[in-house]
């Protein structure tokens, strides 16, 4: 079993190579070589493919890829190599379930299978999107915690402390990360769900020092929360990330490595991006010592994950992982459109549909590419959760049909999506509900979903 000291040993002793050579001359060509070798082919007509052999080939190609390119440590400029035996052992020994949360909200997060009727784990919130103030942070997190399906919270990121915008790796970032922990717990307490796990600890802490500082128990983080550490694309790590890993391991908190391969980036098109996505899962359980993985593949142009190619990437990744391993994986989706627009709700529905039917759980949602402060509300993750529960158990064939119909509603608008309205404009914080206008949008959206055969809750 590869442990953190083994990772360090490999990072210090591995083959030396420049970062540019690793990315351009080792990783990128090898991805394309494996795509060809395993005859992996994207089919635009079937954004949710129903082809088990494609998924299985994808998984084997990913094992080959990790064995042949390894990971890359930017701090030592060396390759971290893994043998096929180490990779397969890590897959076999990856946790089948982890227990998160406290009291009534203590639940088991397990891997799922294709067509699984078990509801997905719903990690709901802002996916680290920026918020402008403590007030909007609390409004959002209270809203997320109130969603009945919420299994875990993904908080927004705090951007200001003491009236000053946060600077990286500075006292401002450390204070912001501490505030992130305190306010997240406070918001859950306020709505009576104090036991719910915070799973993106801590979105405000980009640096290792802020991460470690804010995990002091006095700020409210617990061992039963989950510790998210972002991988550098492609397959890269540095000492700052390994410092976070070592800190989380010492606390006993389950690490979730997040990774966001870019369609159009180092792995190329849909086939390469899906392969890279699966390979990152395997690299993550080794290098980042992860108990769960959070993939968030994104389109280079749209900066979202709802287009046709990305639905295919999400689905094939999910099928490859869930058919061939018990690795716990939650897909994080991004929309192009903003709150209070039908497009945003259709986009998140399509991405969640692709993930859940392929055997993944999910995190939802980065709204409007997570670009704008406060451009998100508790409605979008609530809708994602309703969809996630409604489509659990659906066949890939039926899901594909629905995905095509959903795509027809927004595909042509991805290049210039509507930004919608911000938190204050379409969420009534006092009454903890959407604005009248947003309610009308939701009602019409739910009617459309019912027409597609996806029946969501009556209430708005």
């Amino acid at each position: 079993m590869v442990q953190i000291l083994d990772v360090m040993d490999k990072a210090l002793e591995g083959t030396p190579m420049s970062e540019s050579d690793y990315q351009l001359r080792r990783f990128a060509p090898k991805v394309q070589e494996k795509v060809k070798e395993y005859k992996i082919k994207y089919d635009p007509k079937n954004p949710i493919p129903n082809d088990g052999s494609l998924a299985d080939d994808m998984f084997e190609a990913a094992v080959d890829l990790v064995a042949e390119v390894g990971a890359y440590c930017t701090s030592t400029a060396r390759i971290i190599s893994y043998s096929e035996k180490e990779i397969r052992q890590a897959i076999a020994e990856a946790p089948e379930e982890i227990e998160l949360g406290e009291g009534r909200d203590r639940k088991k997060l397990r891997g799922r299978k294709v067509g699984d009727r078990t509801p997905p784990w719903c990690l709901l919130g802002a996916g680290g999107g920026a918020c402008s103030s403590d007030k909007s942070f609390l409004t959002l997190v209270e809203g997320y915690a109130e969603i009945p399906e919420t299994n875990g919270i993904t908080t927004p990121a705090i951007t200001r402390v003491g009236g000053m915008r946060i600077r990286p790796a500075s006292p401002l970032e450390i204070l912001g990360a501490m505030r992130n922990a305190v306010l997240a717990r406070e918001a859950c307490n306020r709505v009576g769900r104090e036991g719910i796990p915070i799973m993106n600890s801590l979105s405000t802490a980009e640096s290792d020092i802020a991460f470690a500082a804010a995990l002091h128990p006095k700020f409210g983080m617990r061992r039963s929360d989950a510790y998210m550490i972002c991988c550098m694309d492609p397959m890269k790590v540095d000492f700052a990330r390994l410092n976070k890993v070592t800190t989380a391991l010492s606390l006993g908190g389950p690490i979730g490595m997040c990774e966001g391969p870019l369609l159009g980036g180092y792995a190329g098109g849909a086939e390469g991006t899906a392969l890279s996505n699966v390979a990152h899962h395997l690299m993550g359980i080794l290098t980042y010592q992860s108990s769960w993985i959070l993939p968030f593949p994104i389109h280079l142009r749209y900066v979202s994950s709802s287009c046709r190619e990305l639905l295919w990437v999400i689905s094939t990744t999910g099928q490859a992982i869930s058919r061939n391993s018990h690795i716990i994986s939650l897909n994080l989706n991004y929309t192009s459109a903003g709150p209070c627009t039908p497009m945003c709700l259709f986009e998140t529905s399509a991405s969640v549909l692709a993930a859940v039917t392929a055997g993944l759980s999910f995190e939802s949602v980065g709204v409007a590419s997570n670009r704008y402060e406060d451009q998100t509300t508790p409605v979008e993750p609530r809708i994602s959760a309703e969809v996630g529960h409604a489509v659990a158990g659906m066949s890939l064939k039926d899901a594909n049909e629905i995905a095509n119909k959903l795509l027809s509603k927004y595909e042509s608008k991805l290049s210039s999506p509507p930004l919608g309205k911000n938190l204050n404009e379409c969420w009534d914080a006092e009454n903890r509900e959407p604005s009248k206008e947003y309610k009308r949008v939701i009602k019409s959206y739910k009617k459309s979903m019912a027409n597609l055969g996806v029946h969501l809750k009556d209430e708005l």
Partner: protein, 215 residues
């Protein structure tokens, strides 16, 4: 090999993403006594522009764009020193990097290589670049533009530091300043006093063209 063939060889080297071939063709151009400006303008530039256009249409992806830019750099490093003073093939110089505390490089790499593909001289400082380094390098290379990328809401504050530092040094007017990256917006650029916001690579190139002309 005659000049036409050398031009073709330079072009082919870029289109086949081959730094070795680009260097070889540039050496051949020099051996023939070819005008280096002509070698660049007729051989290299149309080819790198073509790769940039294909990337924009997603007909090729980031590795191809970056390898083509590597090949371009290999040839340019031999040809540029031979260009007489006062003559220029560049639309302007851009000093670019990802801000202090941020190690995200993909967006910056895309913009850096697209600027190069569109005729700019690019000084790429990499990631996690200190505020003073942006300014020092811009001064040193007499850059027309400084471009700062940031991908995290916790790191975009460093973009403000650059524009503030330029102001404090009383050299704000020496360099246009543009920002980009995931959480940045036009409003943010305006708020901090930047000269523009690049929403994506294509708009950043258009912005750089405008800023370079405006100087």
């Amino acid at each position: 090999m005659d000049e036409k063939k050398v031009q073709k060889a330079l072009s082919n080297a870029i289109l086949s993403y081959d730094s070795g071939a680009a260097e070889k063709a540039a050496k051949e151009a020099i051996r023939l006594g070819m005008d280096p400006l002509k070698a660049i303008e007729k051989g290299l530039s149309p080819a790198i522009e073509s790769v940039g256009e294909k990337f924009e249409k997603m007909e090729v992806y980031l590795p191809e764009l970056m390898l083509a830019a590597d090949a371009m750099r290999a040839a340019m490093s031999l040809l540029l020193p031979l260009i007489p003073k006062g003559k220029s093939v560049s639309k302007g110089t851009v000093v670019i990097g990802t801000v202090q505390g941020d190690i995200h490089e993909i967006g910056k790499n895309i913009v850096s290589n697209m600027l190069m593909a569109n005729g700019f001289n690019v000084v790429d400082l990499g990631v996690d670049v200190k505020t003073a380094t942006f300014v020092d390098e811009a001064q040193k290379s007499k850059a027309d533009i400084i471009g700062a990328s940031a991908l995290m809401s916790s790191t975009i504050g460093s973009q403000k530091d650059i524009v503030d530092y330029l102001g404090s040094m009383k050299i704000r007017k020496n360099h246009a300043f543009m920002v980009g990256g995931g959480p940045t917006t036009g409003e943010w650029a305006k708020e901090i006093g930047a000269d523009g916001w690049g929403e994506d690579a294509a708009t950043t190139v258009r912005l750089a063209n405008k800023l370079a002309k405006g100087k």
